[in-house]
């Protein structure tokens, strides 16, 4: 019974990371119709920032988290300006540019961190909250999930209650119609990728003390983000959040009771099935092509 509760706790904490990582992918695809393959690398850069600035050079953790968000946001905006904007209307071109970017970011990380073992960041919040004898939540994870939920809340407010958010949603529903309404698609694209990258940077910063940091860590992140994006419905933000919780619980349960690889294989198979049966996902709408 306690294992069951611990598994639910583990799964819910994991879902926060999935949601933060997937949101950016969903936003960018929704608004710009570009699959940003380098999105996992944005998360990786966020984590490296924490390792380099906080763990190696002693800048306080919370300040570094903000720094990571700003840095990754700037990276995202640069990618929009120099890669995705010239490729507007060519989804494949945008995708390939992002693959090129993925390599460049990995090499930058290798140069900053050097080859060798994965980097480790000592947790800034020590200790563990003991709920039951074998149901425990480390304070670091508790902090991460709280911040993730808070960030998603702000995003929700931004998208549903502000004019910018309204424009973002309009463009992702129908790009042409939005443009006819006088919405600047370039500006909306910048907002979308800026917000998406900020979330990715935050995800990396929150994950950093909890995981192995290496230049290739983006690969597993992007697989999870793809699955969540597809299952939730391409372009649907609420869908992505719901799918994050469902997939994290599913993956955690299968890992606990069977095997982690089986969990990932099943996730991928479910994703293909969703693509066949209901390409719009659980919450999505049909994307105009």
């Amino acid at each position: 019974m306690e294992l069951l509760i611990q598994t639910v706790v583990n799964g819910l904490i994991q879902s926060g990371f999935y949601a933060l990582a997937a949101i950016g992918l969903v936003l960018v695809f929704g608004v710009m119709r570009v699959v940003n393959f380098a999105h996992g690398e944005l998360v990786m850069i966020g984590a490296y920032t924490i390792w380099f600035v906080h763990a190696q050079n002693g800048v306080p953790y919370l300040i570094t988290v903000v720094l990571a968000i700003l840095l990754v946001t700037a990276l995202g905006l640069l990618m929009e300006r120099f890669l995705f904007r010239p490729m507007t209307g060519d989804p494949l071109g945008g995708l390939i540019c992002s693959i090129g970017m993925l390599f460049i970011l990995q090499v930058i990380a290798t140069y900053v961190g050097g080859e060798g073992p994965s980097k480790q960041v000592p947790p800034p919040f020590e200790g563990t909250l003991v709920l039951m004898d074998s149901v425990r939540i480390p304070y670091q994870r508790l902090f991460s999930i709280t911040v993730a939920v808070f960030a998603l809340g702000i995003l929700w407010y931004f998208l549903t209650r502000t004019k910018f958010g309204w424009a973002v949603r309009a463009v992702s529903m129908d790009r042409e119609a939005a443009a006819l309404q006088g919405i600047s698609t370039i500006r909306v694209s910048m907002i979308a990728i800026g917000v998406g990258a900020a979330m990715a940077g935050l995800a990396g910063a929150l994950m950093a003390p909890l995981t192995n940091i290496n230049p290739h860590m983006g690969h597993n992140v992007i697989i999870a983000a793809f699955i969540v994006t597809i299952v939730g419905g391409v372009g649907s933000l609420p869908g992505a959040v719901i799918a994050s919780v469902l997939y994290a619980l599913f993956h955690t349960f299968v890992t606990t009771y069977f095997s982690g690889t089986i969990a990932t294989i099943s996730g991928l198979v479910i994703m293909v099935l969703v693509l066949i049966v209901r390409p719009t996902g659980i919450m999505g709408h049909r994307v105009s092509e």
């Binding site: 306690e2 294992l3 611990q6 598994t7 583990n10 799964g11 904490i13 994991q14 290798t110 080859e115 060798g116 073992p117 994965s118 480790q120 960041v121 000592p122 947790p123 563990t128 003991v130 004898d133 074998s134 425990r136 480390p138 994870r141 003390p209 909890l210 995981t211 192995n212 290496n214 290739h216 860590m217 597993n220 992140v221 697989i223 999870a224 955690t252 349960f253 890992t255 606990t256 009771y257 095997s259 982690g260 690889t261 990932t264």
Partner: protein, 424 residues
């Protein structure tokens, strides 16, 4: 040549290397190949220097560079009447098999390497047909690479995972109340499964019941569910069988409140584990790889271990791993055998090596392996049991590996077969 003469020249050689160390550290700016009239003797390293497995390749290269620097600073090494400077040629295969095949040919045919050191596993399996036929003396850290006809492949330092038996033996003797164990590791054949079979056998011999074995893939990002799952079995011992993920697993053990004994094959970068958990938590963890500043290493067959440790950490403060001293041990052993054979050529050195008594780095040293892999090309001797004390790795004792293997070979084979591993 009698055994005594070998030992005598051996001692002289080690002393000479150690003397070179003082010269070299005094002027460590001198490159390893300073202006020297000596001939070059090239030794190859076909290892991962980038990518996931770089921690088990690159530190070994750094270690060999130190040894070569010391030897050359002391005037080189004399083999068969000729004095050579040691030159280390490397090829980074990034643990990719096709690159490893190319690297082997480049090192042997273009760089003229007389011996090639490798990490082991799929990359060794890939080069083996060619290397065997061309009679290239190749070394591995994984004896499970040896096959009945791999006559030129030897494991002269690490006998992975056999030595893990010494840790389990020590644990059982010192903590007789520990009666159940769980094993967690990655599900690859070469590291994880080989090691799992050995630990299962060692636990069985020691009368400890293995209550759960969790073999996970390499795509795990979160170890919370895996650790929760095995801790639910309430084990006395938590065993990591050559895991690539020791740090995140230890972190989860810490947070999930595990208070039993932890035993692991490696505990590389344990200072980082301490930083992520606590000294009290990591203290008492049992593993198999000493730091070289350990006073208990004073009388091993290695030139000035303390000086080597200091030189390494001075050049590469954060890179020390289990392999940092292992490739140097292999290199030194090869030089000794080349001296004894009076030749640097592969066939002569291999014959000298496998046909004579060897001084294993930690003492003892007998050829073993035909029982499992069909050929006695694994050098087994005494192996240290290391425990973390006050945040430092300290040797507790040297276990007699050869004796354990002779007594418990059948149990080991049973567990290897059960996991589908190759035995003769």
């Amino acid at each position: 040549m009698s055994k005594y003469e070998t030992n005598d020249s051996r001692r002289k050689f080690l002393k000479q290397v150690a003397a070179g160390a003082t010269t070299a550290t005094a002027a460590s700016i001198i490159p390893s190949r300073a202006f020297s009239a000596n001939k070059q003797l090239t030794v190859g390293m076909n290892i991962p220097m980038t990518g996931d497995l770089a921690p088990w390749g690159l530190p070994g290269y750094y270690g060999c560079e130190i040894i070569a620097r010391n030897i050359n600073a002391a005037g080189g090494v004399t083999i068969g009447g000729e004095t050579y400077d040691i030159n280390i040629a490397t090829y980074d295969h990034g643990y990719e098999t096709d690159k490893a095949v190319q690297g082997m040919k480049k090192l042997v045919l273009e760089d003229d390497a007389k011996m090639v050191m490798m990490l082991g596993g799929a990359t060794v399996a890939a080069v083996l047909p060619w290397a065997t036929r061309k009679k290239v003396l190749t070394t591995t850290l994984l004896p499970s690479d040896i096959t009945p006809d791999s006559n030129y492949l030897v494991a002269t330092c690490e006998s992975h995972p056999l030595y893990n038996a010494t840790g389990v033996e020590w644990l059982a003797r010192n903590y007789p109340e520990a009666k159940t164990a769980v094993i967690v590791t990655n599900n690859d054949v070469e590291y994880g499964l080989q090691s799992t079979a050995l630990y299962q056998a060692a636990f069985e011999v020691a009368g400890i019941e293995v209550v759960d074995t969790n073999l996970h893939g390499f795509d795990v990002t979160d170890f919370a569910p895996i650790v929760s799952s095995v801790l639910d079995k309430d084990p006395d011992i938590f065993c990591m069988a050559t895991s690539f993920y020791v740090t995140p697993i230890m972190e989860q053990l810490y947070h999930q409140g595990f208070d039993g004994k932890i035993i692991s094959c490696t505990l590389d970068f344990y200072h980082e584990i301490i930083a992520k958990t606590s000294v009290d938590f990591v203290n008492g963890t049992i593993f198999q790889f000493p730091d070289f500043d350990d006073p208990a290493l004073a009388d091993v067959n290695f030139p000035d271990p303390g000086g080597f440790d200091a030189a390494f950490r001075a050049d590469h403060p954060n890179d020390w791993s289990a392999v940092a001293w292992e490739y140097p041990v292999i290199l030194l052993n090869w030089i000794e055998n080349a001296q004894a054979a009076g030749s640097v050529e592969s066939e002569a050195v291999t014959a000298q090596m496998t046909g004579s008594e060897q001084n294993f780095v930690f003492g003892g040293g007998s050829w073993w392996g035909s029982q499992l892999w069909g050929l006695d090309n694994v050098l087994v001797g005494r192996w240290p049991v290391v425990v973390v004390e006050d945040g430092r790795a300290r040797i507790q004792e040297y276990g007699d590996l050869a004796a354990w293997l002779d007594a418990n070979n059948d149990v080991l084979i049973k567990h290897m077969k059960a996991l589908g591993l190759r035995t003769v």
